[in-house]
Symmetry: C2
Amino acid sequence: MNRHVRMARRPSGKLLAADLELAEAPIPEPGPGEALVRNTWLSIDPSIRIRLAETTPNGYLPPLRPGDELSGLALGTVIESRCPDFAVGDLVSHTLGYREYALVGARTQTIGGYGAASRIDAGDLPPQWFLGPLGSAGLTAYVGLFEILDLDADDTLWVSSAAGAVGVLAAQLAKIRGATVIGSAGSPAKVAFLCDELGIPAFDYHDGPLPESLAALAPGGIDAYFDNVGGDHLTAALDILRPSGRIALCGAVSGYDGAVPQGPPNLFTMVSKGLRMRGFRAGSFLHLEKSMRREVGRYLADGRLVYRETVFDGIESASTALPAMLSGLTTGKTLCRLAF
Amino acid sequence: MNRHVRMARRPSGKLLAADLELAEAPIPEPGPGEALVRNTWLSIDPSIRIRLAETTPNGYLPPLRPGDELSGLALGTVIESRCPDFAVGDLVSHTLGYREYALVGARTQTIGGYGAASRIDAGDLPPQWFLGPLGSAGLTAYVGLFEILDLDADDTLWVSSAAGAVGVLAAQLAKIRGATVIGSAGSPAKVAFLCDELGIPAFDYHDGPLPESLAALAPGGIDAYFDNVGGDHLTAALDILRPSGRIALCGAVSGYDGAVPQGPPNLFTMVSKGLRMRGFRAGSFLHLEKSMRREVGRYLADGRLVYRETVFDGIESASTALPAMLSGLTTGKTLCRLAF
């Protein structure tokens, strides 16, 4: 049977494991042009939370309904193929996670620009890196820094959620490229990880008013902000940004998990200081994946880039992993290992 | 005596004429490096309202206190000079409006990037055009469209406050350059002006929910938004913008006159649709003034660009003109004629 995770009920407030449920269905048969994949790794991303709400933002995928299977980026191995693009044994990256077996091919749905399944040549590398630093997390960090923020070695950059899957890569990549980087995170352990292991000055956003914490680490202000949080973090960034500063809107996790999204009341500072803000999704920049993999791969190989995973085991753990990640209980990339 | 307008008391809610007062002081004597200017035209701009509040946004000039003279862009004629840059009889543009006589020179304050006084060669043109279509209003429209929005002839553009000083220029310039333009304004007369005289489809934002009014005029969505209003207008723009759309934040008059500024609750659409937003002030783009004057001057001369003024007479009318303009009672550029 094909075990999969579906929505049990619409979450009210923060997502609970009981809002999701494990279900079973027969393992599907590949039709013409399709391949059957046994999933090995599932990427636990905050964005799926958006589709568990009653309505989704304009431009986003429609909300899921109770009973619908969740989707998410995943890796798997082709075990049966009626598709000329995939041979049995191929490692494939696709968007049909949250299930043990998936049919990939023409009908594969799109997530944030990530669409059709693609073959991965992992070589000697841990395959799950292609969901993390060499996959969507890496591309998101790379695009945010170098395409959206146009980061320069002279810049002082703030990365929020800096111990998260994307933030930890963004903070390190920016530092390697010579920028001055400060980070924020949501626990003392994460702050210690950032400060002690990565050498990135960081603060816990629970520790006091954001403007004060920021001013302590960046007394001269910042030039660029990599936003994974939104809400009060974005408001604080608008206040501390220097004239002509830039903001990359990557995500807004403060508004995902049951809270009402708040727009920054000080948006007018964009006029008074001539600021720029741009939202993006890595899936719109897949043409940069190759150069990202070259650069990030080099830093991983020579040890300059530290990559950390929080791994849950088995499809049955996915309904715990997602709320845990949303509550800030995981560090780095959150994954479920579905099979060996 | 030098009559001038000062703040009488801090406005509570909408600005009232009684929050301002006329006062007198001796006509100042120019010191070394200064020239005495008799002001002829005062530009009534919404932005001075920002400085009448208790606090000003980060990056902005400090708040005025009761008793302080207002400042604003103005034109005048040099009547006495101890400055080699200005001769008696010169027409000068500067930032010390709201008074009948001003000392210009090294001490002249900066407003939004506009700083030191500059000589104007108006030729046969009405001099007040150098506060309007050939001055800061023209430069604001020009920069917003062509530097910030990077407007293309294929684009569908929404201009809010499209019958205001800047909006009316932005809407027409965009149309002349080939873009599809829709406008919004705050009265039936303004909408009639836009539709009938300028040929720009427009709606009154009082007439119903903004999303419906916008969808009626731009059923396929918009590519670019020239924001003079903020608040609910910006929220509606975020919803109707097509993927990769752009927003130029020029002003946010909805938040100036006593209302609490509101950030758009749907800012996440910037991520889901890959939108860009950039705030600006014309004073940061003075290097483009010459090319703006060349282009706008040509359109004014050949009649393709219609320019409308609402003119109040005398310094004693300034304390009425400003609240009238903020309440939407004026069309096009609002001016006070201080002398002939």
